[in-house]
């Protein structure tokens, strides 16, 4: 084994990213807990965590940029660093989604507690599980378990669509509940985004491990070729 220092730097980058993943996962758990309990103290914890996540994002990007500039990585190492940069951005956005949820909870806390026809807890649990599993696939460098995460996204999307349908119905039929329904809708949307970020992390793991770009596979398979259409 040569380039020992480089390999150590790659390991350190991975460790930093796992720390970032832990922070993002904790943020989403706290945000959903804040929703469940309407606890503003937990909302504050999410906001504080968001600052730490943002700081970490910059540290990781700097470390990755340094490695690209100084070590000229190739092949699996190049793919790892590119994936690390993308995963870093996805995790930061998970933190943003958690912050969005906690802001909605702050608004809801001032309103009366009303039961809404949407299972936020189940959605949150599924989205968190996707984040956790995508990070586990990253730890294990396991493309197969990353593919399993991709398959979970459809369920969250379906729940989001059902939430949209049910909550717009509430808005139309019970106008006085529109603010609460809107907040619930925004939270469901934020959780759907978290699932999307977890999906992207899993896609980045597959790219790193197998060199395969699986992004947009469904839409690109059925889309007409822009070259054939004369658009490019």
């Amino acid at each position: 084994m040569t380039r020992i220092r480089f390999q150590q730097s790659l390991d350190e980058l991975k460790d930093q990213l796992l720390e970032m993943g832990g922070m993002a996962e904790q943020a989403i758990q706290r945000a959903t807990e804040a929703y469940r309990t309407r606890d503003l103290f937990i909302c504050d914890l999410v906001s504080q965590g968001e600052i730490a996540i943002n700081r970490k994002q910059r540290e990781i990007d700097q470390a990755a940029t340094d490695l690209l500039a100084m070590e000229q990585p190739m092949a699996v190492d190049l793919r790892f660093i590119l994936s690390a940069i993308k995963i870093n951005a996805e995790l930061e956005r998970v933190g943003d989604s958690a912050e969005n949820i906690s802001q909605r909870v702050r608004k809801m806390e001032k309103m009366g507690a009303v039961e809404m026809p949407v299972d936020i807890s189940r959605m949150a649990s599924l989205a968190s599980e996707m984040v956790r599993k995508s990070l586990q696939s990253f730890i294990d460098a396991d493309a197969e378990s990353a593919r399993a995460v991709l398959a979970m996204d459809d369920a969250v999307d379906a729940m989001n669509r059902a939430a949209y349908k049910a909550l717009t119905q509430v808005m139309m039929e019970q106008g006085e509940l529109a603010p609460q329904a809107l907040n619930a809708l925004m939270i469901a949307r934020a959780l759907e985004r978290v699932a999307d970020h977890a999906t992207s992390v899993a896609e980045d793991v597959i790219f790193w491990v197998q060199g395969a770009d699986v992004r947009h596979s469904k839409s690109l398979k059925t889309a007409p070729d822009p070259h054939e259409m004369g658009a490019v």
């Binding site: 990585p73 190739m74 060199g211």
Partner: protein, 252 residues
């Protein structure tokens, strides 16, 4: 991509040492192909088999066939014909030290009996322009010695010398490894320009250089061609674990 050089069942020996083993390869015409691999892997021996230089060593031996533009250089070609078709540039620039810049470029043609002064002037100018050296040397072409140029200029002079005989193939054995980054960039720019007209094979230890200039890359290890593919594939997602281990610096 048409085939510029077709290599079949090529084997080479230095004494009892079997330095190249069963190489089969189609090198695309009018493109740059990079050969990479650790020291002693056989890549330099391989390019020396493409112009029959390997056999100039008395203990060396070659079997197999190499077709350049349909000519089997191991079957029925004369060395003079091979040298005309295949130019070569080495690691250290090696201009003829006592000759002027002009005579360095014209040397190959004169050796072939070319005497038309006017045509010679044109070819020297065209070759130096092709090698991106003309503007730097045109004012003192016949007095200034080739050895008085900088290392980077000397290497471009050697490229001009190789181009003067209008070859089909240009072999480059680590052409920029003795040069500073600016001179290296000039050589790389030059390779980029020349490859539309010549089939270029470049041996390099600098993998970024291979990535920058070549469309195809071959990885050699222990006298064998382990992998040959598009440069983009080799450097982002090689098929063979040994290629990946080498280019990521895990050995070599």
């Amino acid at each position: 991509m048409g085939v510029g050089i077709e290599v079949s069942n090529l084997n080479a020996w230095y004494g009892a040492n079997h330095t190249l083993q069963d190489i089969n390869l189609n090198i695309p015409a009018n493109h740059a192909t990079a050969l990479i691999g650790p020291s002693g892997c056989g890549k330099s021996t391989f390019v020396r088999c493409l112009n029959r230089m390997h056999e100039t060593n008395p203990i060396a031996r070659v079997t197999g066939s190499v077709l350049i533009g349909g000519l089997d250089i191991y079957a029925n070609a004369k060395p003079v014909e091979i040298r005309r078709r295949v130019g070569m540039v080495f690691q250290r620039p090696n201009p003829f030290p006592t000759m002027s810049i002009y005579d360095n470029v014209a040397a190959g043609l004169k050796l072939n009996g070319f005497t038309n002064r006017h045509a010679l002037d044109e070819i020297v100018e065209r070759s130096l322009k092709h090698a991106a050296l003309w503007d730097e040397v045109k004012d003192d072409l016949k007095k200034q010695s080739g050895a008085s140029l900088s290392g980077g200029q000397q290497q471009r002079l050697c490229i001009a010398r190789a181009l003067a005989v209008d070859p089909e193939v240009l072999l480059m054995d680590e052409p920029a490894s003795a040069l500073d980054p600016v001179s290296t960039s000039k050589i790389e720019d030059l390779i980029f320009q020349l490859k539309s007209e010549y089939t270029i094979v470049i041996v390099t230890h600098n993998m970024q250089q291979a990535a920058r200039v070549a469309e195809k890359t071959g990885f050699f290890l222990n006298g064998r061609m382990i992998e040959f593919d598009s440069t983009q594939k080799i450097f982002t997602n090689p098929t063979d674990k040994r290629t990946e281990d080498y280019i990521t610096g895990r050995f070599g």
